[in-house]
């Protein structure tokens, strides 16, 4: 009997290791099925041997137990191998992860609204496919990963423009510097800059149906403030942690060197008219300092300060502060949360009349999640026009977001605007907004929980 068991052990040990693509003639699934059948058959043989054992034969029984143990261990190893091979990574995994985000918006206004961009098109009372973003991301090699957002953007009701909204490499280490100090990461390419918090968020992740005015008017928009806005320069970003000034807090710094002249408030736009092109001195610098503290992942507080500095004959600077507070309880977290925050930006630049002026603006918001599905919120914007600090616009918006999942979001917004600009004064707008996110996007917390 022991001989038969030893034969089984030899047979088990002689089974070659399982590896993907090992046998060119048999498909992997077939090999796995054969191994599974073999494991089952060996177990049956062990059970058969057990039944043949004479009752009360403790010596042989003990011997059989030991041998059976060895067989079982080998069988377990084989099963684990089968399981590991079943879950092995197929070469297709080298393809980048791809996500598509579609943003559709329709608006209804009480008066005609003309987009201020060069298109000068009427945008009131009509639907828009605002953006289609295709996000691609992948590891490049052990030292870097890459990320690109190719965006198809509505140009204020005049065709679509293709834009690399973001495209950058994230360098985590280099062969010459295997371990970067202070958790340093380097981003090189085009990316949404760390000026405040909102500017870093893509349009489909916004909690509102429109961008805050300080982002669209001070930082930039190609196609009008109802469409995609923000400052996404070409440059290098260094992201690192500073020693904590207070216990339990995290101090994170972003320091960027970017191409000057791309931000809306820059005087570069004047270079082609009244100023010579050399008036803008390259490069520009961005700094963002963020102090954060979280309490058991229930309360999270972020306080940030930003600066943009562009030197030259007509230097441009922006100073900003931002604050975000999030509350999401540990239990029933998916059903309730509160987010409150705000940002302010003060500008120091030359306007079209070549006067140095200091307009500023701010927004504040509050959002409450009433259930898994529904978020309610309000946002207030106050801004001085970048070209004339004496011209003020105020905007109050009320929002309701209905999420089926994080991949499908419906938003309804009402905005009332009062402005020293006559065409914008007493403007009432109702906006419906739909966001679809599909592809290999991982399950992510709602943006408020990020």
């Amino acid at each position: 009997m022991s001989c038969r068991l030893l034969m089984i052990i030899i047979l088990l040990c002689s089974i070659p290791p399982v590896a993907a693509g090992q046998d060119g003639e048999k498909p992997r699934d077939q090999q796995l099925d054969e191994l599974r059948r073999e494991v089952i058959q060996l177990r049956q043989e062990i059970a058969g041997l057990r039944t043949q054992l004479p009752l009360g034969d403790s010596t042989q029984s003990g011997e059989l137990d030991q041998l059976e143990e060895r067989l079982e261990r080998r069988a377990e190893q084989l099963e684990n191998k089968i399981d590991a091979v079943s879950r092995s990574v197929a070469p297709i995994a080298f393809n980048p992860k791809m996500v598509t985000a579609v943003n559709f918006a329709a608006r209804s206004d009480n008066k005609e609204v003309i987009d201020p961009s060069p298109n000068q098109s009427v945008i009131s009372n009509r639907p828009f496919l605002r953006t289609v973003e295709v996000e691609l991301s992948s590891a490049v090699d052990p030292y870097a990963s890459a990320f690109a957002v190719i965006s198809l953007e509505n140009q204020a009701n005049k065709d679509f423009g293709i834009d690399a909204e973001e495209a950058y490499g994230l360098i985590k280490r280099l062969p010459v510097l295997e371990s970067a100090p202070l958790g340093l990461k380097m981003k090189i390419g085009k990316y949404r800059a760390s000026i405040g918090v909102d500017n870093k968020i893509h349009i489909h992740d916004l909690p509102w149906t429109t961008r805050p005015l300080i982002v669209s008017r001070y930082l930039g928009t190609d196609h009008g403030e109802f469409f995609e806005s923000g400052f996404n320069p070409v440059g290098v970003d260094f992201d690192f942690y500073l020693p904590n000034p207070f216990p339990g807090t995290t101090f994170e710094m972003n320091a960027d060197v970017v191409r000057a002249g791309d931000i809306a408030i820059s005087n570069a736009s004047l270079a082609t008219s009244t100023l010579s092109p050399v008036a803008v001195r390259q490069p520009a610098y961005i700094g963002h300092l963020n102090l954060s503290k979280d309490w058991s992942n229930v309360h999270l507080l972020n306080i940030g300060a930003s600066i943009y500095d562009e030197e030259g004959d007509y230097a441009t600077r922006a100073y900003g502060v931002d604050l975000t507070y999030k509350w999401a309880p540990a239990e029933e977290r998916e059903s309730h949360s509160i987010v409150a925050g705000g940002e302010a930006l003060m500008i120091d630049h030359i306007n079209d009349a070549l006067d140095r002026i200091h307009p500023y603006g701010w927004f504040g918001y509050l959002q409450y999640q009433t259930s898994y599905w529904l978020y309610l919120g309000a946002r207030y914007d106050w801004i001085e026009e970048s070209g004339d600090a004496g011209v003020v616009t105020r905007n109050i918006g009320l929002y309701a977001s209905y999420y089926t999942t994080e991949f499908l979001r419906f938003r309804f917004g009402y905005e009332h605007r009062q402005s020293d600009i006559a065409s914008q004064d007493n403007l009432n707008t109702i906006i419906f907004d739909l966001n679809l996110v599909f592809g290999s996007h991982p399950t992510e917390p709602y943006w408020v929980n990020r």
Partner: protein, 342 residues
């Protein structure tokens, strides 16, 4: 000359002290979930400092990666995640940490469940099926046999990262495995079977041969631990909010009759709740398990129409004092279900 000797002596002393410090340096380990922290600390003993990122009361699917977490990971020697697409937020932390030692593929990154047999491995995946896990059901730690494997994975990785303490980690692992085996089968039975008793019983239980095997050896009366406690639950049908208890139920012979969620990760729509009410009435189900982090609204609705009892359960170590160890967590789950059904 004397001065030179003094300097050499000082340098040698400093170097020796540095070497001693390096030898005494604990491995800094970050885990995503608290049960991983607990097991890591059990295996690593005083040679490791393990910290869990997630609040154990929180839904492990939805944890907010914060700057604090990112910074904690910047100088970690080892980052341990559950994997199987449960703690996918770990990727954000690892990436934001900028720590090259813990990037996926490095020795400092461990997916703890790498060789654990997975259930509900889908052959196809689609978002239309809800928050489905492409690599199978990830709630793997609620089967103590899987934690045995996970502890082994952790021990192997600790040995690799700190080879000077190989023997120490092996002994700690053996001791922890013995603790788990005693908790599972009872100390008396383990003692009766000797050194490899835990391994034998584990394999017998995995093959559903345990009771027959014990009967054959007249050891049935010595069975204790969770297996004994769970005998009262044998074959009991339960309803759960989410597919959290698949592994637990299989190990302790419970039957999961269904879930309140129609699709994983999405709260149940009203028509599905009503269908569950009918099923519970039809099948005489007495217990609804509702993880503490999910809303109990649907469970209460169903319970109020069926008389089934809602048990709010904790599923990670340290969520409350009663489950401050993995062993207590499993005991707690068995006892809660037992009490609710009686």
């Amino acid at each position: 000359m004397k001065k030179s000797l003094k300097i050499i002596a000082l340098v040698l002393a400093a170097l020796t002290a540095q070497q001693t410090n390096a030898q005494n340096k604990k491995l800094k380990i970050i885990t995503t979930l608290s049960y991983l922290q607990y097991v890591t600390q059990e295996v690593g003993g005083d040679k490791v400092d393990a910290v869990a990122l997630a609040n154990p009361k929180q839904d492990p699917h939805y944890v907010t990666p914060t700057p604090r977490m990112n910074q904690l990971a910047t100088d970690a020697d080892l980052f341990i995640e559950n994997g199987l697409s449960l703690d996918m937020w770990a990727k954000n932390v690892v990436e934001a940490s900028g720590n090259p030692s813990i990037q996926p593929g490095s020795p400092g990154h461990l997916v703890a469940t790498i060789n654990v047999p997975v259930k509900e491995l889908p052959t196809e995946v689609s978002r239309s099926w809800g928050d489905i896990h492409p690599q199978g059901n990830p709630h793997i730690w609620l089967d103590p046999f899987n934690v045995r494997i996970i502890a082994g994975n952790i021990a192997e990785r600790l040995k690799q990262l700190d080879p000077g303490n190989r023997d120490y980690f092996q002994k700690r692992f053996d001791d922890y495995k013995a603790t788990l085996d005693a908790a599972m089968f009872g100390e008396e039975l383990i003692k009766a079977l000797g050194k490899s008793g835990g391994d034998i019983l584990t394999r017998k239980a995995k093959n559903n041969e345990l009771i027959d095997w014990l009967k054959g050896r007249k050891l049935e009366a010595k069975l204790g631990g969770w297996m004994k406690k769970a005998e009262r639950l044998n074959g009991m049908k339960i309803m759960s909010y989410h597919k959290t208890y698949i592994y637990f139920a299989d190990r302790f012979n419970l039957q999961i009759a269904g879930e309140l969620e129609e699709k994983p990760g999405i709260p149940p729509p009203p028509q599905h709740r009503d269908a569950v009410v009918e099923q519970i009435k039809r099948e005489g189900i007495k217990v609804i398990l509702n993880d503490n982090f999910y809303s109990r609204e649907a469970a209460d609705y169903v319970a109020s129409r069926t008389g089934a009892k809602v048990v709010i359960t904790y599923v990670d170590v340290g969520a409350v004092e009663a489950v401050d160890s993995y062993e207590k967590l499993i005991t707690y789950l068995i006892e809660e279900i037992d009490q609710a059904s009686s």
